[in-house]
Symmetry: C2
Subunit: 160 residues, 2 copies
Amino acid sequence: MLPNTYDSQNCSIARTLEVIGERWTPLILRDAILGARRFEDFHSSLGIARNVLSARLSRLVDEGILERRRYQDRPAREEYVLTDKGRALEPVLLALLTWGDRFAAPDGPPTLLMHEACGHRLEADLVCGHCGEPVQPGGVVFEPGPGGGTPLAFRGPGAS
Amino acid sequence: MLPNTYDSQNCSIARTLEVIGERWTPLILRDAILGARRFEDFHSSLGIARNVLSARLSRLVDEGILERRRYQDRPAREEYVLTDKGRALEPVLLALLTWGDRFAAPDGPPTLLMHEACGHRLEADLVCGHCGEPVQPGGVVFEPGPGGGTPLAFRGPGAS
């Protein structure tokens, strides 16, 4: 287990980063979403040291994001399957990908996403679950919640 | 500048992580979205070493995510303001927060989000910009794009 990286921060962003913020972990999750299950799948996609990959996968199993499943007995072979908790990280990866396509892909997107249900290219929009309208940048207000977050107030004379 | 962390990866997720994946950077962006502008705002919120904070802010300026603005001449004082490119990272942070609220906040969300336009609590949904339907976990198919990504194929006999 890692030490808590952002110990001072009572914040769900920080807590999520503690679980998936290690180097390579988001790309392991990307590959898992794309269908990778076996150690060798991840290894050949990422090209990282086997001990690093092994540690990352074990951490994700400990966190309940991947589940280890035996798929062969002789010799024993296991694969790594996303749990529902792991699948719930898909929006994080889609958001990272969307930004990268827009601002860090000078030759165009390396990968295109298709929305399987409608068959069109996916440009995922974030909408409010209540009113159904798109969430505009800056259109969100933060308030203290039951988990005891301290509202951050930064409005000094230099702010507009 | 950092060395390219994920050099082998022609992938918009990896490219985004190269820009914002350093330790503390996502929380600097969180604070910027919440209204932090001055060095001392970020410093008191994060409690990190001044040289680390200074390096992270400069990197974000170099990347066009924050803009340095002089707000006082004598003595010279500058603040850091999100650009449109920086504001476009908001969905990444909302996705991280949403997952953390659900899976890493045993006492409830530290912070609640309100959708300013409708006044209700924001539970941001990801919808397809074409058909308007919610994007279900696993409902996205990846295909090679103009940027030359190699489609990753992982379907071995162990996969279902």
